[in-house]
Symmetry: C2
Subunit: 411 residues, 2 copies
């Protein structure tokens, strides 16, 4: 990407002052700042983890006008360049920012509620899903694991690979749900279908899996046929709000963060009417440690329509129907590592991606993956797996020891 760096004025004292101000508000991360003139400086005493180059004055004003959107868009367009370890820089920026004095709890709660007023209709949901998930299976195949799992992996030990950790995640979910051969499962938001197929193949259940993304469902159906599981796994190209069967087990991995806060209660209603009284359910979702609206750059460029909930906000799914929350596990550090693994894979194929889309697309996705990893590493983002049961269901595991027993043999 060619940027003319010579046409700018060289008198930069006001620019440096503005950048110092911005850095102060960002918690003074340990970075070197480089201007279009080549001048370098830092606002932190620690050793810099990387260098941020402002290739045009405009980038400074964009940052002032809208910090996260400004930074993201300038980086995507090449007005800002990063030199050094990208992920380390993302971690440093996010961590420094979270050290900053923050506005009060009620302020964030209010903003979070306000941001959720815009409900996702069936049509808007389809559009939102299309925006992200219908980028093309070929794109995701380049850098996800071979089973195309696009949610937090579970690294049972620190030496596990991404592929192993994704299988371990599926087994962890299946074990929590105490799956038994012959049971019926509804999955809301099934991605490319790997969890549904894994459940049927290794736990002997029948699955009806819902997804709004045509590209993903087409792929999932092909996989079901290829594996000879299409008699037990049905992929439905439709919104979760059309679910109308009964089931022994309800599972949703990585969908809640997309449905929007206004629809949490609707999701709870759907689970209540579909789950049998002695059933079990699990929701796996990105979360927060406190309510706040989604990052504006993320909702503009990556995930429109989403809301990342705090546990208190997630209660809106469970409490109106008195679901008994049995078990919540937070896997945020696993997601930091998952995103870091995705980023590494992504970097290895970035030239291919650039040819398929554009260099700007590559830069946007690099920033998204690194930013997500940094968010989980710093604690700005959490990952909750919530296991719950209908009110009064006493057919629940007595302790959680069973979750740490070995994987069952193939049915």
């Amino acid at each position: 990407m060619k940027i003319n760096t010579r046409s700018q004025p060289s008198k930069t004292s006001i620019d440096r002052w503005l950048l110092r101000l911005i850095m102060h508000h960002a918690g003074n991360p340990r970075v070197t700042l480089r201007l279009w003139t080549g001048e370098e400086f830092s606002t932190s005493e620690g050793e810099a983890v990387a260098c941020i180059e402002f290739r045009q004055r405009r980038a400074i004003f964009e940052l002032i006008a809208s910090s996260s959107v400004g930074f993201g868009e300038c980086y995507s367009k090449g007005l800002i360049e990063i030199h050094g370890n990208f992920l380390a820089l993302a971690n440093e920026i996010v961590t420094a920012h979270t050290r900053q004095r923050d506005r009060g709890y009620l302020w964030h709660k209010f903003r979070s509620l306000r941001a959720s007023v815009r409900a996702n209709s069936l049509i808007r949901s389809r559009h939102n899903v299309h925006h992200h998930y219908d980028l093309g299976n070929d794109f995701y195949k380049l850098w996800l694991d071979e089973r195309l799992l696009y949610t937090c992996a579970y690294y049972e030990n620190t030496g596990a690979t991404l592929a192993e950790a994704q299988v371990a995640k599926m087994d962890h979910v299946c074990r929590k749900l105490c799956l038994e051969p012959g049971q019926t499962v509804i999955e809301a938001g099934c991605g490319w279908g790997s969890l549904a197929l894994h459940m049927a193949e290794h736990y002997g259940v029948s699955v009806k899996a819902y997804n709004n993304s045509r590209e993903q469902v087409t792929f999932a159906r092909q996989q079901a046929v290829r594996k000879g599981l299409d008699d037990r796994v049905e992929f439905v190209l439709d919104d979760y709000r059309t679910i109308d069967q009964h089931c022994d087990v309800f599972v949703s991995v990585g969908m809640l963060e997309h449905v929007g806060l206004r629809n949490f209660r609707t999701l709870g209603d759907i689970i209540q009417r579909s789950l049998k009284p002695d059933g079990l359910a699990l929701i796996h979702s990105i979360g927060r440690s406190h309510p706040r609206p989604s990052d504006r750059w993320i909702t503009k460029h990556i995930f429109p329509g989403g809301h990342i909930p705090s546990l208190g906000e997630m209660a809106t799914v469970f409490e109106p129907h008195k679901f008994s929350v049995l078990d919540v596990e937070n896997l945020r550090l696993h997601y930091a590592r998952t995103c870091a693994d995705w980023l590494e894979n992504f970097e290895a194929v970035s030239e291919q991606v650039s040819e398929m889309y554009s260099e700007e697309f590559v830069r946007t996705w690099r920033l998204y993956l690194a930013g997500a990893s940094a968010g989980f590493q710093s604690g700005t983002l959490q990952l909750y797996q919530v296991l719950f049961a209908p009110h009064g269901n006493n057919e629940v595991p007595w302790t959680r020891r069973y979750q740490y027993q070995s994987r069952p043999e193939k049915q």
Copy 2:
């Protein structure tokens, strides 16, 4: 207790009609109803689990005026008598009641909030604690386990005794908190001190434990001296709001349900200012699957000032300081069994208790223990153990497998 059952009129058609109405609103539990005349009838087709005898007409009116308070007080005074298995009856009544169509979520949420307006001041808290916990150590020694643990036990296997399950509970808590020798622990609400002593004895930590109850603290201090642990365990006779040290670990077992909703945020503030940035904390509390105010008979006769929170309400402790909730475990069925074990012990010494206090006291406590067990069994009550860490603490366990490894040797 002598009640004159002969001075009542024998024309009872209106009484039977009123009782049918009451039973209808209570979900028609499978019980036999017996009037002061000896007449028996039932409003349910199933086989009755026990018989409720109304020994005076007045009891019917008290039930109409105030269902839970009326029933409780009439039973305590002997206006109502139970024939048959008391615990089975409690389970039947609570389960039938929870099957009933219920008012909406927002209605309960509003009532729950309204009930919480009355804050517990330092003086009122001391009074509330005195009301229940200063009944006399001799009383509790009669029917609790030998270590005087008065919170939910953890039955690792179904054959475990109450005493074993209480030790297992302490180890479960200690394991979750990853205690290491030399660490400092603050315990808020320490009962008779068994957990504090167990932590120091078996995990090598130093504990500062707070409690408002003079009787309990006196006992706990004696135990510390007897076990030679008084150099490492300090029992402070004061409110949790006076905590002013730093610690590696903060733990509170069975206190949150007594502090009142208005003080949840204060408790969070105290944990935030005392817990080191790389620390861990655990709150173990009775909870609900949805917000609702406490039972009026319970707040009047057993636990004044308390509020049993839903998980969403508990978020008020964690979210303002962005604590990262790592792990929530629900042990409600363990508490149902704990209360049943307590009730069994209590029945075995009920004559002694009657001599120490009165027959009315025995009946009140029988109803409380049976009702609590039935509440946990039916799902009206939950038991949450919440493990959490300060925002951004990455020194947290990688998976939860460690919780299911064997108990460490004595330090």
